[in-house]
């Protein structure tokens, strides 16, 4: 038995952990075990990758099986880390079609959470780019799912948080890039209206995201920096920084948070200072396009190892909701007001635009998504419960990969694809056999 947690370090649950070293070892485990779920690199924040009794680690399934340089098609085993894939594909002039905010995730995890990136409004989620995946089912069989074969199973598995079986392999197409640099433009937004408008206006830009200063209040509520970027072309490089190596080596050196911060470290003062500095640093570069290495652009927090420890031993809650476009201004304003009043504000507040998604339990829908971090305290739960009520009323929902605490009612209200998902779980014998702490908590 091992005590497992997600990246938020809350909650903690004991589980047996199995570590198959080859894909062919997985199907026998699927029939022999009950109450199991697969786990990649443990970067889901809550309880999604903790098995009810058994957790099946995919980390040894880490082979890249095929990489076609002429088409950019790549076939990988589920446990391949994005961090391991990037140094292989970037120097060849390719980039994953979608990346989440950390590169320490597995390909299987990216499919299971149907992760989105800063380009969701334009390119959709990771699942939209998956051509096929290989799934080990509870009955010990192995199936290939694609848009043509076992389509229902594919759509249940994308965003299905591992609850339809264990993903063994994923095949998808990479995008071509001319350089490993990003051409970024930072714009300051004075308030929430401004931020939403700027994000909508930059809809044609491939990557865009807003960092919100959560402690700004009143007319400055929602004050933020908008980061919009494209993969830099060779021409961009020539114009902005002639003579630059088009494919810079991976970023070296990293800060690390070696110990747990005491819980009081994150009071209003430290957060406010952090936000203020961040705001100023960004505002200086505002307006001018400049070059940024792909690594710090896409994965800023990966530069600080174990940053989750900054919230102390009790852990933290990450809350990510999506609000349909027409209600976004009102609901996001309400949420930000609640958070800014609390003082021990969110360390991170990220806002971005989203498009629709395909999976039965995929998170994105057309609207805006807001991400908050809160240290685990008594009042954090009640605050988020209140936030959830606004989310539900707006027709929005919460991201399962982040969730550790939403109620079954909130979940059911947000995911109309749930009944179809349950039907599929029953039809493949997954109901009651494949279960995580999350699926039990939410009654999936």
């Amino acid at each position: 038995m091992t005590e497992l947690t997600g990246w938020g370090r809350y909650p903690r649950h004991p589980s047996e952990v199995l570590n198959p070293t080859t894909p062919v070892a997985v199907p026998p485990l699927m029939t022999a075990q009950t109450g199991l779920v697969a786990r990649g690199n443990g970067r889901a924040y809550g309880d999604a990758a903790i098995g009810e009794t058994v957790t099946l680690s995919t980390r040894s399934l880490d082979r890249i099986r095929a990489f076609d340089l002429s088409t950019g098609r790549i076939r990988v085993e589920a446990g391949v880390l994005l961090a391991d894939l990037l140094p292989v594909v970037v120097p060849q002039g390719f980039f994953p079609p979608v990346v989440p905010g950390t590169k320490f995730v597995t390909m299987g995890g990216m499919a299971a959470a149907d992760v989105h990136g800063k380009n969701h409004h334009k390119d959709g989620g990771f699942g939209d780019h998956i051509e096929s995946l290989v799934l080990a089912l509870p009955d010990g069989s192995t199936v290939t799912c694609s848009r043509d074969r076992n389509r229902e199973l594919l759509l249940a598995t994308l965003g299905g948080m591992g609850l339809t079986g264990t993903i063994l392999e994923v095949t998808f197409r990479l995008r071509q890039i001319e350089t490993g640099w990003m051409r970024q433009k930072v714009t300051a937004a004075a308030n929430l209206d401004d931020a939403l408008r700027l994000l909508q206006d930059s809809g044609a830009v491939t990557y865009s995201v807003a960092w919100i200063d959560c402690l700004a209040r009143g007319i400055s509520l929602g004050r933020s920096l908008i980061f919009a970027a494209e993969h830099a072309t060779l021409q961009d490089l020539e114009r902005l920084r002639p003579g630059t190596d088009p494919f810079p080596s991976p970023r070296l050196g990293r800060l690390s948070v070696p110990v747990d911060f005491p819980s009081f470290a994150l009071n209003r003062f430290t957060v406010s200072t952090f936000n203020e500095l961040y705001f100023r640093a960004g505002a200086m570069k505002a307006g001018y396009p400049h070059l940024v290495h792909w690594d710090p652009y896409f994965f800023p927090l990966d530069g600080i190892g174990s940053w989750n420890r900054i919230y102390g031993r009790r852990g933290f809650l990450q809350h990510q909701c999506v609000i349909p476009t027409e209600r976004a201004r009102h609901v996001l304003g309400t949420i930000l007001e609640r958070v800014s009043h609390r003082g021990t504000g969110s360390f991170l507040a990220v806002l971005k635009q989203m498009g629709p998604s395909q999976g039965d339990l995929s998170f994105p829908l057309k609207g805006f998504t807001l991400t908050l971090d809160l240290p685990v305290t008594e009042d954090a739960f009640s605050l988020l419960d209140a936030v959830d009520r606004s989310v539900v009323e707006s027709g929005g929902r919460l991201y399962l990969a982040k969730d550790a605490r939403q109620s079954p009612a909130t979940f059911e209200a947000g995911y109309p694809g749930l009944s179809r998902f349950r039907d599929i779980r029953r039809s493949i014998g997954a109901a009651g056999r494949i279960s995580s702490r999350l699926s039990t908590r939410l009654g999936i």
Partner: protein, 247 residues
Amino acid sequence: MASSNTLLLIGGTSDIGRATALRYAEAGWRILLAARNEKEARRNAEDIAARTGVEVTTYSLDILQTDRFENFLDGLPHLPDTAVCVVGELGDQVRGQSDPAHATLLLRTNFEGPVLLLGAIAERFLARGSGTIVGVSSVAGDRGRASNYLYGAGKAGFTAFLSGLRNRLSPKGLRVITVKPGFVRTQMTAGMRLPPLLTAEPNEVGRAIFDAAEKSRKDIVYVRRIWHPVMMVIGGLPEGIFKRLRL
């Protein structure tokens, strides 16, 4: 980077074998992967090819079927430039103490098979006049310990073989390298509690092998240098003291 050299890696499904082959492939070497379970070896072959773009081919080879070694070598596209043997089986010491079949398996896998195969390769290298042989032995062969002396005895014999072979071949300009990785985080040691400072990752071993064989002139390699003084101390303990230790 590009090189027309060929590596024969014996033990192509092991973690150290995978890491070593990948390191050679990154330097542009063509890779021949031999393993008992060729299907599993193909997984590694595909991975190495996808990562590096080099050609990787797989061969079925059972280290216990010693009478097939000549056939196996005849079947290779050509004689490799370097041969690395990472075959090893820790097995179950306690079981081996009362089960002669298991003890035999450990001795044959760690000693007889590798010795006969590298011996056959050495004769071919000698006939050609060039070649480098790398044997992955173990610090467990430096001094027998209660917890793994069947494995250790096999590795001790293998170490002695490599030493003798080096003594014979080096005047002819051929190289023989003995690698003693110490603890490595692999399938073989999964679930064991290993001291972090003394424990290497498979890719450290792969790099150390490549550097020793293709860049430096080292004969005996401890992957983490700390193992050298550690084994000096362990090797230097008087038997009267050593025999009473629980190791």
